[in-house]
Symmetry: C2
Subunit: 133 residues, 2 copies
DNA sequence: ATGAGTGCAAATAGTTTGCAAGCTG
DNA sequence: CAGCTTGCAAACTATTTGCACTCAT
């Protein structure tokens, strides 16, 4: 799992444990809270999220302005999510369609392609419940 | 252009002018700088980006951690971009493939769908130039 | 032993909120 | 005139940086 010259350390193991236990993307803050045996620093979480993202182990999901969630890259199949604009509910979507666009990007000479993508909407519960929080 | 009960004010006109002159997405800060005849406040830019995004006039493009760029929604065709991870170069990509995913989301009961998506890579110039800044 | 990784403290960057005053419809 | 908008000041949140120390290799 750590094939990219990344050292195996307690903070990293803790983070990966937390990430592997969450089926939905979570924030750095949450990782810190959950993995935190008290000694793990939030700064370390951020730094490791960087390295792990670069190593292709985690995937970043930008949500609302200035926030990001992280999740392990699904070993089997890459996917994305729908996020409810009102209540924040996150659901998985099957597969990913971006191949065409990546090919277009490759044709423009870009290499080493990755992408981020999120779909937003109003979830069933929220749309049936007119309370506009 | 402002069909959604949004008032026509100088700040908004200035912002729309700037946005319409930029073919690539730009940041709130840049809009502020460019539209700023000195009186326009950055806060107003943010507030109007919110209203305009909600009104469907502008589109938000989340890039690196915690940053967002904005662009007018192309009246003709919706599209996305490739962004060079190294130098930040942004290029347009033709069209958008997300329909399948949006259908999947709709099937899960979500309504009012929108999405964000960006592709990252290394641009031709950067990959031929090994200086790893 | 040596440098990647960590914790702590402090700094940034981007964005949001409260409130009184201004301007649009 | 009423209420959407704005400016200003200040608060926040998420993230980054510097530095000395530690631990994996």
């Amino acid at each position: 799992m750590k094939t990219k010259a990344l050292r195996i350390t307690n903070p990293r193991l803790a983070m990966l444990r937390v990430l592997s236990e969450c089926k939905n993307p979570i924030s750095a803050e949450e990782i810190h809270k959950l993995a935190g045996d008290g000694t793990l620093d939030l700064v370390t979480v951020y730094r490791n999220l960087d390295s792990l993202e670069e190593a292709g182990v985690v995937q970043r999901h930008p949500i609302e302005r200035g926030k990001n969630l992280y999740a392990l890259v699904s070993p089997d199949h890459h996917h994305h999510h729908v996020i409810c604009r009102r209540c924040g509910l996150i659901e998985k979507l099957p597969g990913c369609d971006t191949i065409k666009l990546e090919i277009a990007a490759k044709n423009q000479g870009f290499t080493d392609l990755t992408h981020i993508m999120e779909i937003y909407g109003i979830c069933p519960r929220c749309s049936s419940n007119p309370s506009h929080e």
